[in-house]
Amino acid sequence: MKYKKHFFKSLFIFLTIFLGVEVAGFYIASRNVSGDGARSLAGNAGDERPDELRTRNRLLKDSLKGLSPKGVYIVIDTARNILYLRNNKRVIREAIVSSGSGNILIEPNGQRKWVFDTPRGEYTIQAKKHHPVWRRPDWAFIEEGSAIPTKVTDRLEEGVLGDYAMGFGNSYFIHGTLYTRLLGRNVTHGCVRLGDDDLKAVYTAADIGTKLYIY
């Protein structure tokens, strides 16, 4: 009986404190919404006239528009594995791609680690190659369990990148593939693979300096 009384007393105290905190929380939240915003806006609004502000907004909108890429550019959606070739805001070609697998490779001695993600952000086409030859990086040898060659010529492999390749920095390329059945899936080591026809179209439309957006 004594324990029961203690329990109810503790419960009552806990609920009272909890309710107090809840009320305080609600009060603070409502005060923040109606108070802080008003003050911060009123402070800034006092400096300029509405027409001056409108003019400034127009200029800001123009500046924002001015940042958008002009002419042809490439957009790659790695979540859906879709490439969009755009001319200004118009999509002129849509293609299925394969992008990075997100897998990790660690060198057996633990010294180096590779994460096979396709990088995100804004890039530029830096190189265009017809009949590209793949210079296999170290990870390609480690992955297949073979020794890393010392001679550059032992790294070269023809025909695996398709007919065209476009480099966008840090050894990442948009290139062709032998595994067309895997288009639409995230299976690459970070490069972006395209089917033959789409690759040719993108290669033809894009010049060195063409902007590339990957998200």
Partner: protein, 211 residues
Amino acid sequence: MNCLRWIPVLFIPLMTADAVSIGKDSITYENQLLETELRIAETPHIYFIFDLKDKKIHLKARGLVFRELKIETLRLWGNASVAKAASLIKKSALFSLKRGMIKPRSRNDGEQFSIETLELKDMPTNYTLVLEENISISVRSKPTDMISSLWSIQYPAKWYLTRPVLTAWHAVWGKPFTSLEIVLEKNDARTLYWSFLEGMKGIVFSPGSHP
């Protein structure tokens, strides 16, 4: 008595002044938003905009919208009216994503070619995005079956019980607290998780909540 009729006229300048002030506030707010977005758009990064007024999430770069996600339902706690840029600090889900580890093959082991990758379908649909400025965004997917519908009943209760406590807790430390709960289509919730990288910048704004 006749002069009493003119009393409402006296209020006209006051009412006009108030309307001008509200109009000015909304232009100032737009101005702040544009300035903030311009600063972010000048960098070569993808950024996000949570437009709580139109219930949309935009993935953008250089001012261009690349992807638009529709917010099905939305709950906002606190003040999201200040147009400031905020970076994504972390994403947290109940089950963290496991990246596949590639086992270097031996040349003679004749292992079969297998694909283990991290794809959109592997992304969680219920998770929390923690942003700077003490902004926390709980993302949930729309219930698709009876079990998930029943399970979703607890969310409003949890929301109204925990938000005030968290607000009070942050107030003790002199920090603001803003919380959002958004419900998206299952695939959109996964896309959001996929597209949001830690360190990514963006703006969460709700013009409706500004005075």
